[in-house]
């Protein structure tokens, strides 16, 4: 039954036929090697790309088509997380993309941790033995401390597997794995071939990952730059807005001081004028009565003299009427001045918007000569406001409207209306209008189109500040001819 199978041979024993067979084999080997070199060159050219997915696809496809390795996968290393992650696979019913393997676990995990190639020809059998030992250990109550059974990505019953670490400059890029359900199908030649491809693939994958990483960083940088630019713009807007706000506050303070000075002056003048006005009014009444009495006496005592001097009496009477009218006019002006300046009133009170508009138009009567003033007042309830401040708004806007009109002619239309929440005052002129490029800046303190030394550029800025204090606002609309100012005021108490 026994027979020796060990062989003892020397080259001298070879026959001619054996030499011929050896030569044929060498020729076949040479031919195969030449073919493999060409294939490797072809694959290398495909790996000369920067698209990671394309590279992985090229590697796996060529492994199948050229070498017949039907089941292959590339796992990329995430050393920070201590795992390999399936990046591409070929020939599996479940691609398993994204599945992870802990470095140090299973064939691919151990290959990654040792950074050495592994070729196994009986994997499922070995796993079967180990599982049987485990089951026996557990059955004998000695299973404490055993680890978990791990399901690896890939073929569930792989017998043969070659796994090669992909390393570039001592950096683990990943692991390339080829599997088969047949035992010992991979030999040393396969191992060498896969090794050569893997070596080239490692560099290509490494470069592609670097490129992808650089691209991601560039995109992240672009996003960050965009955010920074946006933040800068926002900051600039905020600084600009804040600067405007400060300038408006300053303008309002200056204007308030001016108004306070004007109010003091008006108060002084009004007070000083009221006394002589009173004397003039009472004296006129006395003089009128005296003249009437004198006229009666003359008629009774000397009709002749009365008849001769009656034209003189009539002229004096007419003169007295003119004086009375003029005195009443002066008294009305003084009253409007006091009313406009609201010198004798509390800071805030419930007032009529129409009264404020009329007072303002009265104060500006002289300036408005030559222009047509159209009042179109709606049903507007009284509002809570600072009357003096509100009059200042009307004054500034109406003055601007007047200045936009020619010296004689033109129309200023004042319209009021109200809804449940607010009052709208529209002051419209048909003058020269506002240049579109000036419109965004008309409320900026210091901005003026009236020329140096003519306007301070504080009028509309002050209006804006006052109305904002009242919880209202003001906007300007350019018209085909002229400008429309829309003043909104809240009903009720306003914001301050």
């Amino acid at each position: 039954m026994t027979e020796p199978v060990a062989q003892e041979t020397t080259e001298a024993d070879e026959t001619g036929a054996q030499v011929e067979a050896r030569l044929e084999k060498l020729e076949r080997d040479l031919s195969r090697k030449t073919r493999e070199v060409r294939i490797i060159q072809a694959i290398a050219s495909e790996l000369n790309a920067l698209d990671l997915d394309a590279i992985l696809e090229a590697i796996l496809r060529s492994m199948d088509e050229v070498f017949g390795f039907r089941h292959a996968m590339v796992l990329l290393a995430d050393e920070e997380a201590g795992v390999l992650r399936v990046a591409a696979s070929h020939g599996y019913s479940e691609p398993g993309i994204g599945a992870t393997v802990r470095i140090g676990q299973g064939v691919v995990g151990v290959v990654a941790s040792r950074r050495k190639l592994m070729r196994v020809g009986n994997l499922a059998i070995q796993v079967g033995y180990a599982s049987a030992v485990r089951a026996r250990t557990v059955a004998s109550n000695q299973g404490d401390g055993l680890g978990d059974v791990v399901r690896m990505p890939g073929l569930p019953n792989a017998q043969s597997q070659v796994a090669i670490p992909l390393v570039v400059k001592d950096v683990l890029v990943g692991v390339f794995s080829v599997e088969s359900e047949r035992a010992s199908v991979f030999d040393e030649r396969d191992e060498q071939l896969i090794g050569i491809i893997a070596s080239q693939a490692a560099s290509a994958i490494h470069n592609a990952r670097l490129y992808r990483s650089a691209e991601e960083r560039r995109r992240a940088l672009d996003v960050a730059n965009e955010q920074l630019r946006s933040l800068n713009e926002t900051l600039e807007d905020k600084v600009h807005e804040r600067t405007l706000e400060l300038a408006r506050t300053q303008a309002r303070l200056v204007q308030s001081e001016k108004m306070a000075s004007l109010a003091g002056l008006v108060a002084g003048i009004a007070h000083e004028m009221n006394t002589p006005l009173g004397a003039m009014t009472s004296t006129q009444v006395t003089l009128k009565r005296a003249l009437a009495r004198l006229d009666d006496l003359l008629r009774e005592e000397s009709p002749e003299i009365h008849a001769r001097h009656s034209p003189l009496v009539a002229r004096v009477t007419a003169g007295m009427d003119v004086l009375t009218y003029a005195t009443e006019r002066v008294a009305d002006i003084v009253r409007r001045l006091r009313s406009f300046a609201r010198l004798d009133e509390a800071q805030r009170k419930i007032v009529s918007v129409h009264e404020g508009l009329d007072d303002t138009l009265g104060v500006l009567a002289r300036q408005l000569e030559g222009a047509t003033i159209v009042r179109s007042y709606g049903d507007v309830p009284p509002i809570a406001c600072s009357p003096a401040s509100l009059n200042q708004v009307f004054l500034n806007v109406i003055q601007n409207a007047r200045e936009a009109l020619p010296p004689s002619g033109g129309t200023i239309t004042v319209t009021t209306s109200a809804d449940e929440q607010r009052v709208l005052v529209v002051i419209e002129d048909d003058g020269r209008g506002i240049a579109p490029e000036d419109l965004p800046r008309v409320f900026d303190p210091g901005f003026t189109t009236k020329g140096v030394g003519v306007g301070a550029g504080l009028g509309l800025a002050t209006c804006y500040a006052i109305l904002r204090d009242h919880g209202g606002d003001i906007t300007l609309e350019p018209l085909a001819r002229g400008t429309r100012a829309l003043i909104h005021l809240p009903l009720g108490t306003g914001s301050t």
């Binding site: 039954m1 027979e3 020796p4 199978v5 151990v110 180990a130 030992v133 680890g147 059974v149």
Partner: protein, 142 residues
């Protein structure tokens, strides 16, 4: 010079466990099952040394051993007369055996149990064909 032929390789794939016989210096025999006999070259095989058991003790005392391997398809058997040569705790052979063991152990939760202490390398002094101890199942059988 004795060399092992390629036809023995399938019998070393571990499909069918091998039977290893050793003997103490006092002449007491011991037989055990080994999951795999590793082909090193055509004159040497290696066995894993994981636990200091009776086999290891015997081999360290008496270097001669015999292992019976079986071809998984034909069920042909061969016995290899072995002489313990040396142990390797590093190098390509040890790394290959250690990596394989670690891979299998980590998949089955046995990493703390299966640890390779050394790769014991044996010189193959003789190879003897033993024929079949079992008949293959008829085709289609189970």
């Amino acid at each position: 010079m004795t060399v092992m032929t390629e036809e023995l390789k399938p019998a070393m794939q571990g499909y069918i466990p091998a039977v290893l016989a050793t003997c103490s210096k006092d002449g007491e025999p011991n037989a055990t099952i080994v999951s795999q006999v590793v082909w090193v070259d055509d004159e040497h095989v290696a066995l894993s040394f994981q636990f200091f058991n009776k086999t290891i003790r015997n081999v360290r005392e008496n270097p001669y051993a015999s292992v019976l391997i079986t071809h998984p398809s034909t069920l042909e058997c061969w016995s290899l007369d072995l002489r313990y040569d040396h142990s390797e705790t590093e190098g390509p052979l040890f790394d290959a055996m250690d990596m394989q063991l670690q891979a299998i152990a980590s998949m089955t939760g046995m990493a703390d149990v299966f640890k390779l202490k050394a790769s014991d390398v044996y010189f193959v002094e003789a190879v003897t064909h033993r024929g079949r101890y079992f008949e293959p199942l008829p085709e289609g059988g189970s």
